[in-house]
Symmetry: C2
Subunit: 300 residues, 2 copies
């Protein structure tokens, strides 16, 4: 990534993070009864997340010529679903993680019962947001298609099933195919839904939506491999849902499975494929390309 890309990306991500942050503040209820559940929800959403899924959704909307405003409730709903999945993944009976992004996890602060309910609330509020009447609107048919896309990505064939497979594989072991299947469902499905939904809102057309699907699948895998590499060489993760303690837990990772060199080759291949899939777009797809390049180059 050259210096211009680097400067562009930094400013771009900061700008997008701040408008997503502002929208999430607006969409999430401030307070209610009982106070604990409202606090647990906001604690988990406003925890320094990088808002990658909403940013991808908005970037895909712009790549097909759309505006930000109609896409914003969809973008934020994706973040609520991501937040719910992190709360439930961290629970004692799942990954049993005490910290997430350096802060105590939801169940450590609010108790296990409130954490389960906060996750349930966020998942449900995502569909409140996806279905609610907005001034700036796209057609009801397209909104239903977006809900269908996101619900399928989050459901048993997607994210929930992927987490179940991850939990079970930790006990019985896994090969490369299983690892790929876990990531495809646990992380990849919602990333693919993020870019597809962004384009669907503006009737992006079959070919472009198919191209964005390939883009999403490739960056989904790339993010996960990059996280695995950084878990060895660095100390952070951007997109995957590991927590830095995967190595300690003896979880299967790409470097442990195929060696560091091959893992880096695999990562580079996915980035190339992601960028190649956007060849039919004009320069409004530039942010998507720069985001893809960034995945390979980032150091933390």
């Amino acid at each position: 990534m050259n210096q211009d890309d680097d400067l562009f990306l930094k400013a771009y991500l900061e700008d997008r993070q701040s408008i997503v942050e502002e929208a999430l503040q607006r969409y999430l209820p401030e307070d209610g009864i009982p106070a604990d559940i409202y606090k647990a929800v906001r604690y988990s959403v406003f925890n320094g997340g990088k808002r990658i899924r909403p940013i991808l959704c908005l970037a895909a909307a712009e790549a097909v010529g759309g505006d930000l405003a109609p896409a914003m409730p969809v973008a934020c709903a994706l973040e609520l679903i991501h937040s719910y999945s992190l709360i439930h993944d961290d629970l004692p009976s799942m990954d049993n993680d005490d910290f997430r992004r350096g802060k105590p996890t939801c169940h450590k602060v609010f108790g296990e019962n409130m954490a389960i309910l906060a996750g349930d609330a966020l998942l449900t509020e995502a569909f409140v947001l996806l279905s609610r009447a907005e001034k700036v609107m796209f057609s009801a048919e397209r909104r239903l298609a977006v809900i269908q896309e996101i619900a399928n990505a989050a459901g048993i064939a997607g994210m929930v099933g992927g987490q179940a497979l991850d939990v079970i594989s930790e006990k019985i072991g896994a090969d490369e195919n299983t690892l790929r299947e876990i990531h495809r469902r646990k992380t990849g499905a919602l990333i693919v839904a993020s870019v597809k939904a962004g384009a669907m809102i503006f009737n992006g057309g079959k070919e472009k939506i198919q191209a964005l699907t390939e883009y999403g699948m490739n960056i989904g895998q790339a993010f996960q491999i990059a996280d695995d590499i950084l878990n060895v060489e660095g100390d952070s993760e951007l997109m995957g849902k590991g927590t830095g303690s995967d190595a300690a837990r003896n979880k299967l990772t790409y470097p442990s499975l195929m060696g560091m060199e091959k893992a880096k080759e695999k990562l580079a291949g996915h980035i190339e494929a992601a960028i190649a899939s956007l060849s039919g777009f004009d320069d409004r797809a530039m942010p998507l390309i720069v985001i893809a390049r960034y995945i390979k180059e980032r150091k933390s």
Copy 2:
């Protein structure tokens, strides 16, 4: 309830239970990877539930002149949401119940992690079902309104918030107002959404939907009071989400709060109000009236 009502109701409920059962079998995925999560989902849905919410939804649809087929995915989605809420309510960190309807609870059979994920899966699949394309259809606008209604009823202002309030009240105690608020959100909100959604599918009209809202609020309260009474005088529950061990747990109930006689008066008042709210309907609302009467009279 006279003998004719009794015979009618028995045949009616059996018939409706069987068509809802058949539809749920059709809508829920049979099998998948990993097998445990698919098994946990089906175990929890096909556990002898009485399908009251779907039956109310279908009855409300018919009361405003609608057919069963377009309402069936909505009716079944309501049951999936109810099933998810029971799985999560039973968890060790919530009510810690080992049995539900005489069978081991989901987490006792599949483990706590699979039970949490099975609940998450059911909640998400409800929205897959609500948004998916069906041959027999109602308009996209109405479907969005139905999704909005159900998501709000299940969300933080409704069912999830009600469960959070219940969990917290068990620790700090509760008065009658809190008890009513817990039931309104934890059980009542989804019952109201069931009858409203049934009518909304067929454009039931503002007045009738308002009348059904009152009907739903009253039978929601009535069911809960009747369950509390049966927990003392009998040994079963139909609708409320207690598990028979509420008394042992020293939970606040209507008989414990106001005495048995006043609780029964309160129950009768809600049944009367529920029936009165349907005065503007023709005889297609008869099943709703008979269901309301049944709540007061049932012995188990």
